[in-house]
């Protein structure tokens, strides 16, 4: 077994890797190309960074192409991203023009590879027009949507939709995120990479160092929410929950850690509100971390006794998955993909209010055995369902399915 497959076999199990190998047999010798808009940073790049070499080790010629653009292109796609997630806004025509021109320029560069590929995965809206710019394509094209488009701005969706209708299939993370399209709409939840810096095991010395750096007392109870400073993540509600619980548990500490607020005016505003709500409480640790502080986040999740993700609106919620992978019970908002992961009374608790979150904190800290039992179940649940190998299995299944005419039942060999 080759290096990467062997490493994943140790985490996911030999059986999982054997399954991938058998499923990839009908794809041997074929070419799969993934296209997105960044090589580093962001969840999509993180997953492709491992998924592509893993697929190659399975004998499938898999490539990863990245489109590049100017500032106006990224302004357009950032606005699109926000609008598709439900924030209505007008995108000026000159930005749309930059979007289209960027795709034309990238198509010139990538056309040869894309038209020859057997399966092409286009990730998110940035490269969506490429299909129409590859008229001699011979393979199947799939649009993979990583964002929640359940309530998109109608005008922006209408604009994007014109590029999507010719795809052979689309992929959404949850059924509720899917928009009607005239193609097969697969449902593939996202996953975490157990071998990434964000998720690998850390030794006790490192955890001790991080706790000291942030003045955390690991002999006292700690709850942590790792999230951007965004109103939908309800960090102020988390502080309220902490205060309600602290009346009964004076030793309680709260960590709120997030990054990327400096270039986001609304993020800065939310961060100010959080500081204001935290007042001068020394047991509330509001941390603004750099975007690449993966190892620190990993350590903070491991130092915490309970992970909280009290979102009022959430896409899939990969920070929930990460916390569960570290064997922590999660108190999560009863919304979006959190519902798929937090199984009430088993892997954590679903809550609707700060009061509910406070109640569950008190419940868990009063019953440490229950807390550890739930944490162990949470880790097992992620191992079975939300690791990268499961996502790869579903991409392979989808590819085999499409190449066999998308029948409901496909029998090979």
């Amino acid at each position: 077994m080759s290096g990467m497959l062997e490493a994943y076999a140790k985490v996911s199990g030999e059986e999982v890797i054997d399954h991938l190998r058998q499923l990839s047999e009908p794809l041997a010798g074929m070419t799969i190309v993934h296209v997105n808009s960044t090589r580093v940073g962001g969840g999509v790049a993180e997953i492709l960074d491992k998924l592509v070499p893993l697929s190659n080790e399975l004998g499938i010629d898999t490539r990863w192409e990245v489109i590049t653009g100017n500032m106006e292109f990224y302004q357009c796609t950032k606005s699109m991203h926000n609008a598709l997630q439900g924030n209505p806004l007008r995108i000026p025509d000159h930005l749309y023009k930059a979007y289209e021109e960027t795709n034309v320029a990238n198509a010139e560069r990538l056309r040869g590879v894309l038209e020859e590929a057997d399966v092409v995965f286009i990730h998110d809206p940035q490269p969506a027009p490429l299909l129409g710019l590859c008229p001699n394509r011979k393979g199947k094209w799939v649009w993979r949507c990583h964002i929640d488009v359940s309530h998109p701005d109608r005008l922006v969706w209408k604009y994007l939709r014109q590029y999507l209708i010719a795809y052979d299939a689309s992929v959404f993370s949850l059924p509720a995120f899917a928009q009607p399209l005239p193609n097969l709409e697969y449902i593939i939840p996202p996953s975490i990479d157990p071998l990434s810096v964000k998720n690998i095991a850390l030794d006790a010395d490192e955890l001790h160092e991080v706790a000291e750096r942030f003045n955390l007392d690991t002999s006292r109870p700690i709850v942590a929410q790792i999230s951007r400073y965004d109103r939908f993540k309800d960090p102020v509600g988390v502080i309220r929950a902490y205060r309600l619980a602290k009346k009964f548990m004076p030793q309680l500490q709260l960590v709120l850690a997030g990054g990327g607020a400096s270039d986001d005016p609304e993020g800065e505003m939310v961060l100010e509100e959080v500081h204001s709500a935290a007042e001068e409480d020394d047991d509330i640790h509001v941390l603004l971390l750099p975007a690449d502080a993966h190892r620190t986040i990993n350590a903070l999740q491991r130092i915490a006794d309970i992970i909280i993700q009290k979102s009022t609106r959430e896409g899939f919620g990969l920070t929930v998955t990460e916390g569960m992978w570290k064997g922590k019970p999660v108190i999560g908002g009863d919304t979006g993909g959190i519902r798929l992961q937090v199984i009430d009374h088993h892997t954590g608790f679903l809550v609707n209010t700060p009061e509910g979150a406070a109640l569950r904190m008190r419940y868990l800290f009063r019953q440490p055995e229950k807390m550890h039992e739930m944490g162990a179940k949470a880790r097992e649940f992620v191992t079975d369902n939300f690791l990268l190998t499961r996502q790869l299995r579903e991409y392979l299944t989808l590819s085999v399915g499409l190449l066999h005419g998308a029948a409901n039942r496909i029998v090979i060999g």
Binding site: H19, Q22, A176, T397, G401, R409, I410, V411, I412
Partner: protein, 229 residues
Amino acid sequence: MQASENSPQETHGHFAVKDCALIAIATGKRAHSLKELRDHLVTINEDSIYYHFWGGLIQPRFEEREFNNDFASWTRHGLHDGTLAEKLAVVDPTEFTDPNTLRNELIELVEERLEEREFLRWMPAAKPFEFIRSQIVVFDTHSRAANPRELCALLPHVSTTSIFYHFIDARQRFPEGVDDFRFWLSGFGHEFDDLALRLAEVDPYFAPMTELRRNLINVFQEYFEESAS
């Protein structure tokens, strides 16, 4: 490349261990009330009904299932109607060889309840029922068992998705509604009738797939241990 699907019994009576991968596909149909559920049940593709009875067994889920199908689960947790949930939960899909008969049974139960409790016609559910269907890819593991004793030795090394294919999916492939193991054993005359009977007693609905595999291994091992003594 695409082969026709048949029984796992090859020439010379070998059991061919196959495996499968299942992937979910959105149908775009959602029910926000019991009445909408009924309306969609009338027209929904039969693959979707299959998925909501069986697909959940190898999709992300946790431990024991409270109900044996998604319709019952949604009725209980989405509509808070325990009465209908209980009635839907006893529907055994293996009793219905024709998918449309199964569909009609579901519609009948829902309509009966709509007549009993008129408010259920307009009462919105806490969360919509998302109709999903699935695509299944079946492939050969190239692993073979010449006789039941060899199959017994193989089982601990068989994946949970393979167990799904042979023990659960098989029930809707054969008109008799049996699993692949029992179908294959019947090819040995009456020699393994007792083993087949024990397999028939394994309930496939509620246990996680890992536990189901463990149960099947136990049935085979106990049978051969008792035969040897």
